[in-house]
């Protein structure tokens, strides 16, 4: 029972970890990423299509990352190049993903609901899970010990200082947003070709926003963010397990209260009721060389 719960916690946290770390790149660089949800959704669709075409989950997840990257490039075009409001554009990108995926699905497979099922042997068994934790370690080292990690943080905290040091702020932000899209795409891929066996309509169902919540809960740092993903994944695993289980007296357990827990916790943390979480200083401010 406990072992099973741990295993399913680790599994359902995997997409969250990828997406939240993706969000970390763009948000640390100063670009809000509400669009994580959409990038994840495109990723899950592209990965399912890629796997159906190539019969390999590895190539399929590369397609998923490519899909996320493409949408991130579109997002970057608007928020970095055209200085659109990041929240407005992010919301639009999410709508675009919700609309475009069934639209493309209809063109490719003549159904809007979901892609054909991917056979068992062509799906991931556990690789994304290990990969996600390797990524956590990689991000930890990257933030602490590499110059690019420092650049990204400066682009989000003191863009003028970075600019004065001769580094192009918007180029750093472009890189961060693209990486963010690729990782969110991988998060989506682990939904469609690891946790389930096909893409289905709006299958992310708010997981991109939950990843965003984990990022905030984790104070925009890799390790705490991953732990927040685990916590939210645990809540998810518990509520899946308790669904349909009856309490004494035949009353079913209202799992809704477990479902809303991650969101309530995030609101409390952000308000400083439980710890304090501070956003990068220049988050949401477009950079224009003066």
């Amino acid at each position: 029972m406990t072992g099973e719960l741990i295993a399913s916690t680790l599994r359902v946290s995997t997409p969250l970890i990828f997406a939240a770390l993706g969000g970390m790149f763009s948000e640390r660089s100063g670009v809000i990423n509400i669009a994580l949800e959409g990038m994840m959704l495109i990723g899950s669709f592209a990965a399912a299509v890629g796997t159906l075409v190539t019969h390999s989950p590895w190539l399929g997840s590369a397609w998923g990352m490519g899909g996320g990257l493409l949408l991130a490039a579109f997002y970057g075009l608007f928020v970095i190049r055209l200085r659109a409001d990041q929240i407005v554009a992010g919301t639009a990108i999410n709508m675009l993903a919700v609309g475009a995926t069934p639209f493309l699905c209809k063109i490719l497979y003549d159904v809007t609901g979901s892609t054909p099922a991917i056979p068992m042997g062509e799906r991931f068994e556990s690789a994304p899970l290990y990969l996600s934790w390797a990524l956590v370690a990689g991000c930890y080292l990257w933030v602490r010990y590499t110059p690019t990690g420092l650049w990204v943080s400066f682009a989000g905290e003191h863009p003028e200082a970075l600019d004065a040091a001769g580094i192009r702020v918007n180029r750093v932000r472009w890189m961060a947003v693209l990486v963010s899209g690729a990782l969110a795409g991988m998060g989506g891929a682990s939904l469609s070709i690891f946790l389930s066996s096909s893409f289905s309509r709006n299958m992310t169902a708010g997981r991109g926003f939950m990843a965003l919540a984990a990022l905030i809960f984790g104070k925009w740092k890799p390790l705490p963010t991953a732990l927040a993903c685990l916590l939210f994944g645990f809540a998810d695993a518990v509520q899946i397990r308790l669904q349909g289980v009856s309490l004494w007296g035949g009353q079913p357990i209202p799992v809704q209260f477990i479902q809303i827990l991650p969101y309530v916790v995030t609101i409390l943390v952000l308000a400083g009721f439980v710890g304090r979480s501070r956003a990068p200083k220049a988050l949401g401010t477009p950079f224009q060389k003066g």
Binding site: V88, F209, I267
Partner: protein, 342 residues
């Protein structure tokens, strides 16, 4: 003045052009798609009625985004606010079904407004007094509202006569008048109410001290503070009002249409409201006009599934996204302006 009108029109044209180009790539004749859209939105009395039916909630959610925008806040929480507004109206109607007609809908409107405004006040207060960003809080509160609605619907007020996730029906005294001229489309008294509310919001923003102070906070917080305006208070008021406005969506849905709360009744009216407000330049009259446009788009695309081979109603989401993106791309417009000036 001219540019104020020109930019939204260009943005719609641009979004529509790109959207139709996409249908061409999908293997359809864009002209044919455009014809279907127009016919399905305005082709008959019934079609016009359905367009107006979708316009009604969009006026409310458009205003719910526009009002905080005037105060410098971004409300992405209209979806949660309207969910709780509808839930409150339906709960009142299910728990006290015996209240007679003129009183019952009035109380239900009040309940919808109050429930929504509580859900707006929370992020407003958090922003003003705790400094946490309303965007994240409203996103999170949308999920919390969905959880509450699901709990109330499935556990507390479940309709025993139905397999669908919905509450027990409300009392007959609550039901709003439905206009008969639209060939069976459910256009209720909620539509004139929405237009009246838009007018009241205009008065509030343009003709009262509160409205003036709210806009001052939105234009420059430091200047407003120097003038002695309590910006925190204005933000709380703006978000509370916005939540209430979104909550009024419940009036049209519960009292004017379904007679109960149905889970998932809203095809994300709250998010379409963002597009409505942006395109309407956050002005009440603009919101009404662009709500009609997006209402028509929503109804128009509904028939694409049947009438075309490759294009589905999901085109409406794509078009909405494209319109939002083209309105919001400040760089695009300043570039065009530069081009236009010799």
């Amino acid at each position: 003045m001219k540019r104020k009108l020109l930019q939204p029109i260009l943005a719609v044209a641009l979004g529509l052009a790109v959207g139709l180009a996409i249908t061409w790539v999908a293997g359809e004749n864009p002209w044919h798609v455009l014809q279907i859209l127009t016919k399905s939105a305005f082709g008959s009395g019934y079609d016009i009625g359905m367009t107006l039916f979708y316009t009604t909630p969009l006026i409310f959610t458009g205003l719910a985004v526009a009002v905080p925008f005037q105060a410098g806040l971004f409300n992405i929480g209209a979806e949660g606010q309207l969910t709780l507004g509808a839930l409150a109206a339906a709960s009142l109607g299910a728990l006290l079904p015996g209240i007679p007609s003129p009183l019952a809908p009035l109380l239900a409107c009040l309940a919808a407004f109050l429930a929504g405004s509580v859900w707006g006040a929370i992020p407003g207060w958090l922003r003003a007094r705790r400094g946490s960003h309303e965007v994240i809080n409203t996103i999170m509160l949308n999920f919390v509202a969905a959880g509450i609605a699901s709990y109330v619907t499935l556990y507390l007020l479940k309709n025993p006569d139905s397999q669908n996730p919905e509450t027990r029906p409300i009392g007959a005294g609550y039901l709003l008048h439905q206009f008969a001229v639209f060939g069976g489309a459910v256009v209720s008294a909620a539509l004139p109410l929405a237009i009246l509310v838009a007018f009241l919001v205009w008065i509030l923003l343009r003709r009262t001290v509160i409205g003036y102070e709210m806009r001052a906070v939105g234009q420059s917080e430091s200047a407003a503070r120097a003038a002695g305006i309590d910006s925190g208070k204005m933000r709380i008021i703006a978000m509370t009002l916005a939540g209430g406005l979104a909550g009024l969506v419940g009036v049209g849905e519960v009292l004017g249409n379904a007679g109960k709360f149905r889970m998932g009744f809203s095809p994300e009216f709250g998010f379409i409201g963002i597009a409505v407000a942006l395109l309407g330049r956050n002005q009440p009259a603009g919101v009404v006009a662009s709500a009609l446009l997006f209402g028509a788009l929503h109804k128009g695309t509904a028939d694409l599934d049947l009438e075309t081979e490759h294009v589905t109603r999901d085109l409406s989401l794509i078009l909405q996204a494209l319109v939002i993106l083209s309105v919001s791309a400040e760089g695009l417009w300043s570039w065009m302006k530069k081009r236009g000036e010799p």
